[in-house]
């Protein structure tokens, strides 16, 4: 049973504890509480009616499904990036390592413009898939910018550093003897990777996934340029909130905000519970 307070030679608990409550209240708890409060004043019927409107529902579905997909893709490829950056040494490694942070550091609008320019049908990469390209003659034209695919590209872009930076310290600490032990027991490399290495990395991978997902759901700046924002097709939920606010539909905006809050909270809770469970199994929480 944790005690609320035990006498200590290091003073300052009362002051800092009070500060934590004040700070978190002003910054996080009161604003979020207000959203929930306003939404609840709408009443369940209106809330339901707003959220099931076809454009609202499509926007929420688009935001969450693409964010989950982007986080999943980042989990896989971020693992490979982190693996290469920690396990091997090669010329240009530090440069490559630093470039992982760029999506963090760039203003999202800059990222949005850059991605749009590159992936637009006349951009460097976009033109490779545009009508008339080799790709188009074989598989048919593929439009990236101004479609959900473009949103996905932007979400992958901004999520990558979260996975890589979460995994790197864990990979550095990963005991090489585990892999050697597995090899002496006769396990081939793929078996060692899938049975020994990846399970050990799983909690950190989940954390990275959760962070990338959370960032993707809330992402606005880099997405709106590349999305095209076609209602019901490539319009993300955060943009819909802005649209509602511009139409002075505060109730609608609040309802969408509450739905996002609830969904994000549920997903992050699920991820955290899974992570805590796997960490405990690994013996971290001793």
């Amino acid at each position: 049973m944790p005690q609320f307070r035990t006498p200590s030679a290091i003073p300052g608990f009362g002051l800092t504890y009070g500060f934590v409550w004040l700070y978190l209240s002003i910054i996080i708890l009161i604003p979020l509480g207000a959203v929930v409060l306003w939404a609840s004043s709408l009443g369940p019927e209106r809330l339901y009616a707003i959220l099931t409107r076809s454009d609202t529902f499509a926007a929420l579905r688009l935001s969450f499904s693409l964010s989950l997909l982007a986080a999943a893709v980042n989990a896989v490829f971020g693992l490979i990036v982190a693996w290469v950056l920690t396990r091997y040494s090669f010329p240009g490694k530090r440069l490559l390592d630093a470039s992982v942070d760029l999506p963090f550091a760039l203003p999202t609008a800059v990222a949005g413009i850059a991605l749009t320019a590159i992936y637009a049908p006349n951009g460097w990469i976009g033109s490779l898939f545009a009508p008339g390209s080799l790709w188009a003659s074989v598989f048919g034209p593929l439009k990236i910018a101004y479609t959900p695919l473009g949103i996905f590209v932007a979400l992958v872009f901004i999520g990558l550093p979260f996975v890589v930076r979460t995994l790197q310290p864990v990979l550095i600490d990963l005991d090489k003897e585990l892999e050697e032990a597995s090899a002496t027991l006769g396990a081939r490399r793929p078996t060692t990777l899938f049975r020994v290495v990846f399970p050990t990395l799983f909690p950190a991978l989940l954390t990275g996934f959760a962070l990338a997902f959370a960032r993707a759901v809330g992402e606005y700046g880099s997405v709106i340029f590349i999305a095209g924002n076609i209602p019901g097709v490539s319009e993300i939920a955060p943009l819909l909130i802005i649209t509602r606010l511009e139409q002075f539909d505060y109730a609608g905006a609040t309802a969408i905000a509450t739905a996002m809050l609830a969904l994000s909270f549920a997903i992050l809770l699920l991820v955290n519970v899974t992570e805590a469970w796997s960490r405990k199994r690994l013996g971290h929480a001793r």
Binding site: D175, E180, A181, T184, L185, G186, R188, G283
Partner: protein, 360 residues
């Protein structure tokens, strides 16, 4: 399984970790690789396992050249100092790992489970198959690691400082127990240690390594009583030494003949090494040399005396019974029950430490 190591070389940059090592390991024996850190003992063990690729030489498992075989196909049991257990697996799955995912014939789960329970019984951890490694003590983890290595019926069992991470008490218990397991299972076992006491107590034979060279291989008695090189003499047990000049098998110390009998090394500058317990005090003028006590301290059941000998006050250490009435400044003659003579390598051996230069 009998092991033959032929002219094994491994360089790390310019630094030779193994300098052409030749070693025969007999089937069913328990052999220790002993040496200070950086002596190449772990590199040798890892090379046998295939975890290290040597730059030259061969390793034979029986008559089979295993030098080019992969780790997976060498079929060795390897126990790491820090256990290297798979933390996300229960004890049962850890031990079963090699049987499930190894290169051996596939077995049914029932057979595997039966074998795991037998091994748990052997390592005296009955009933713990459902635990995770995090729920075990250090000694228990190391026993699980050993059971896991034994589960694949290895051709040879290799242990890298297996007790290095454990408390002194646990270590002593596990030492006796490892010897017992060795006698029950009869696996050829090679273990690495820097602890000479552990090597002496546990093994049938000891191989002493220094700077990538094999210095001596022999039973603990041979290693202790007839060290082949000054390094072995200095590294195993305590010793101090006197510089002498050797002519025709007779030693002279500071111009006066030393009455120690015949010494073998080639003529020229040499050194006489003496262990503290082989020094006895006699009346001045009656011993091999005379000396003056310059320091006294208690050491377990004995008293250690530092004795200055000759014009340059060379320090000789003696182990004395505590009831002997001596004090600092007393003059005595020193008699040597045993000694060893080697050609000089200029640097006096430091107690228990690796020496920088080697005998010619």
């Amino acid at each position: 399984m009998e092991l033959k190591i032929r002219n094994l070389r491994k360089d790390y940059g310019n630094f030779p970790a193994l300098n052409g090592v030749n070693l025969d390991i007999r089937s069913g024996e328990l052999i220790a690789l002993l040496g200070p850190s950086g002596s190449g003992k772990t590199t040798l063990l890892r090379a046998i396992a295939g975890l290290e690729s040597p730059d030259g030489g061969q390793i034979f498992f029986g008559d089979n050249d295993a030098s080019r075989q992969s780790v997976q196909h060498r079929h060795v049991g390897f126990v790491f100092q820090h256990y290297a257990l798979f933390r996300h697996m229960k004890v049962l799955d850890n031990i079963a790992f090699g049987m499930r995912h190894g290169q051996g014939p596939k077995q049914s789960e029932a057979v595997i489970r039966k074998r795991v329970l037998e091994l748990l019984d052997l390592v005296q951890l009955n009933g713990l198959e459902g635990r995770y490694p995090a729920q075990l003590s250090g000694g228990q983890r190391q026993r699980v690691a050993l059971a896991r290595a034994l589960a694949i019926e290895p051709k040879v069992l290799l242990l890298d400082e297996p007790f290095g991470a454990l408390d002194a008490q646990v270590r002593k218990g596990l030492r006796r127990w490892l010897r017992q397991i060795h006698e029950e299972t009869g696996h050829t076992t090679v273990f690495v240690t820097h602890d000479q006491e552990e090597a002496m107590e546990l093994s049938d034979r000891v191989a002493v390594l220094h700077k990538g060279d094999l210095q001596q291989v022999g039973t603990p008695d041979e290693i202790y009583d007839s060290p082949a090189t000054p390094f072995v003499y200095a590294f195993i047990g305590d010793s101090t030494s006197l510089p002498v000049t050797i002519t025709n098998g007779a030693a002279t110390f500071e111009g006066a003949p030393l009455s120690v009998g015949r010494v073998d090394p080639p003529d020229g500058p040499g050194r006489i090494h003496i262990r503290p317990q082989d020094v006895t005090l006699v009346a001045a003028g009656q011993g091999v040399v005379d000396g003056r006590i310059i320091g006294l301290r208690r050491s377990g059941p004995y008293r250690r005396a530092d004795i200055a000998v000759g014009q340059h006050a060379h320090r000789i250490e003696a182990l004395l019974p505590p009831e002997l009435d001596v004090s600092i400044g007393d003059q005595f003659g020193l008699a040597f029950k045993r000694y060893a003579a080697f050609a000089d390598d200029r640097e006096p051996p430091k107690l228990g430490l690796a020496r920088e230069k080697q005998a010619a």
